[in-house]
């Protein structure tokens, strides 16, 4: 047991080291950030000074060692542009992204589940086909295109929705979020809906498939035979069984949703980490790009490690040959 966990932790460490190296060296060979900050009047001496200030005059391996040294002390470097610790910036913006992703998740479930159930109950009806067509389109349409069209229709043409940004926030139970103000919800709706479409399509499909399977299962037939009302069968027995795979898949996809928020955030100017990344790429703020990536890598590696260890605790067979079978 201990040996297994130790092995996994070592593996995770190895992955972390390799990934930080890839990210660091990858990002640091691109372009030259100096010219973004220098004005056109800046002469060679002034350019050289900027290069020294940014630490770009030192050999790259030296820069990497400094980076690793600082990282071990929880410091991912200062953003070139803001002069503020990069981690600080990330944590400052993370809540907005999490909020967006969470809202998208809720919308996907609230809309997707009923639609999927309807489509599963009457698969041959015209509206069920319509729902499945919708889910196919939701799956296929590039997210950015939907966002653009929504801004055009609902903000510009109809004027119903704010086009951009996050609305007012309020603090409830120590959590600052736009869920708690009307203005905040108003701003949240379009980006969250846009982001939810892929997940929604997935929920519809999973629910429908689950319905098809469960409805013909013996225990449902048995329940029907026992005269339990259809409504109760659906809301309790069927629901319970289709929710498990949906929740599993959504849980796994949540990371993907956060990543896709990059696109939605840059269209709707949502002040989250994704928008920050795109902006940082635009001005080649290397420390910030590297810090964001390292942060994400760290997050995923830790999550994977936790899942692995949890599995091994729950299911002893996993440990036998050192990998899940």
């Amino acid at each position: 047991m201990t040996e297994f966990i130790l092995k996994r932790v070592l593996q995770a460490l190895l992955v972390l080291i390799v990934m930080t190296m890839l990210v660091f060296f990858g990002v640091n060979v691109v372009g030259n950030p100096v010219y973004i900050f220098a004005s056109s009047e800046c002469d060679q001496a002034c350019l050289n000074k900027i290069i020294v200030d940014l630490g770009l005059d030192r050999p790259i391996w030296e820069q990497y060692l400094t980076f690793v040294g600082n990282m071990l002390q929880g410091d991912l470097g200062n953003s070139f542009t803001h002069g503020v610790p990069a981690l600080h910036l990330i944590f400052e913006r993370l809540p907005a992204t999490l909020e967006l992703a969470f809202a998208a998740l809720v919308i996907a479930l609230v809309v997707g589940l009923p639609l999927g159930m309807v489509a599963g109950l009457r698969p041959e009806a015209w509206y069920s086909k319509g729902i499945m067509g919708f889910s196919m389109i939701g799956f296929s349409l590039p997210v950015f295109w939907i966002g653009l069209i929504m801004i055009l229709v609902f903000s510009v043409q109809l004027g119903w929705m704010p086009a951009i940004g996050r609305g007012d926030t309020a603090v409830v139970l120590g959590i600052e979020s736009s869920f708690f103000t009307l203005d905040g919800l108003h701003h949240l709706l379009m980006p969250a809906f846009t982001l939810s479409l892929i997940m929604m399509a997935m929920v519809i499909r999973l629910t429908r498939a689950g319905m098809r399977e469960v409805l013909f299962a013996d225990y449902i037939k048995f329940a029907r035979a026992n005269g339990i009302r259809e409504r109760r069968i659906l809301s309790v027995h069927v629901m319970k069984n289709i929710l498990i795979p949906i929740v599993t898949v959504l849980g796994m996809e949540f990371g993907g949703v956060i990543a896709f928020a990059v696109v939605v955030e840059s269209i709707f100017s949502w002040p989250g980490v994704g928008k920050m990344l795109i902006d940082a790429i635009g001005v080649l703020d290397r420390p910030l790009i590297v810090a964001y990536l390292v942060f994400v890598v760290f997050m995923f590696v830790i999550l994977n490690l936790a899942v692995d260890i949890l599995y091994s605790v729950l299911d002893p067979r996993v440990r036998l040959d050192g990998r899940p079978s």
Partner: protein, 537 residues
Amino acid sequence: MTVWKPGLFAAALAMAAPLAATAQEVLTIGVRSEASSLDPHWTQLSADLQVQEHIFEKLVALDSASQPIPGLAVSWEPLDETTWEFKLREGVKWHDGEDFTADDVVFSFDRLRAGISGAPASPAFQLEKGRKMWEKIDDYTVHITTDGPYPTVAEDLAMLPIVAEHVASGVTASVDFNSGQAAIGTGPFLFEEYSPGSSISVVKNPNWWGGDVHWDQVVFRPITQDASRLAALRNGDVDLIDYPPTIDLPQLREDPDFTVSTIAADRLIYMQPGYKHVEPFITDKDGNVMVPNPLRDWRVRKALSLAINREAIRDRIMGGASLPAKNIVPPGFFGYVDGLEADPYDPEGAQALLAEAGYGDGFNITIHGPNDRYINDARILEAVAQMWSRVGIITEVDAMPRNIFFSRLIRGDELSMPGFDVPEFSMAMTGWGTVAGEATYTVSGTLETYNAATGGGNGNFGRYSNAEVDARSVLAKRTIDPEARLAILQEAITIGMEDYAYIPIHFQVNNWAMKAGLEHQPRTNERTLAMEVKRVE
């Protein structure tokens, strides 16, 4: 904590505000780029400066045509060839009520010279030009000395914001300014709040020496996507935007719900030919690199200029908003030459010139440029390629992000040693902003022969070299008398541009779009200042 703590004084003012009981006048501005810092010595990015200029001021201010006017200094004059005397404005208070004096000026310049830790591009180099030294004479007099005759001291000081010694000494650069702790200036607005990625807000300074400002509160919201920014204006999220998409300009101008303000910018967009004996991106019809490089023949350069239809670029790409050019500084700037008119579109003339120069069959060229730096840059590049292809010079376009483009344009290889740079491109589209409102450094930067030691030709990325221009440029840099300098500069510009040292396309035109009922005094230097926006009936 998502939101920075509001500044103490802004908070006090916000508490006092409800007592006034009048409707708050709030101006929300949608800007293309977010300010990266409120430390006025941090960068020279326009996006930063335009927010900082609401809070901090300089000794010398620039009017909307970028000409120097009194700011925190009321007057300046040369005492001798190397000493300038600046008289400071008396009775100016910092936002926290302390008096502004010469000590603050000395402190600000000292802070810049000492170097701002971590600052990516502080404006400190302006102090190195002419090796400036400064000295407090009394509380309201400062002397600036230079190492030789140096005419543009005032223009240089217009780039250097003054911070308060009693607040800014010992603070952490950038961080303490963003928190509001050190964001204490003398300007028309007080710092209120900075929430990164979302907004920056400032509130009216009731005690500003410059008089009353119209707005009680000004909010800057960064909206990067052009179309989203316009959408935000259209649906009322913001009152005013910078850089409205040029393609929508004609419609916006006609729409009674919106107003557009327009002014010629200080930024010249031009094609920079490469002057090396052999240029890698120029080949004959069989794909062989051409020797010698045809661009060294001025007739070829003139032909290329004649082949550009600048009116078509203005009308079809820039939404009518560009100023076709042959001058290197816009009208109204010191150094503008009256007789230099943009070349007419003359494809037949271009072909005749090419034939005369021995290139009647044309050749192939790849032109480079940024795609995220200038207004419609990639589109202009493509249009130029179309037009050159028509006269037989088959042109390929390679547009790239600015951070890659500029390092290749300036140094060729980012690992090359400074001073040994070899610009890579054979023909590149680039731009030059005459920030100071006068042409001395534009001539020196773009027309003078490259010399890393003197800083001459630091923007001469084609390595153009013309002794006649050089002599005049060097002389102008040492001539204090404005009239004499103007004549020298105009000669240098005329010689250089008649030789087609580079091929000007146009001056950018800055546009702002706002709700009807607002009036905006547009600025040549691209900055959006709330002081210059008013409500009208």
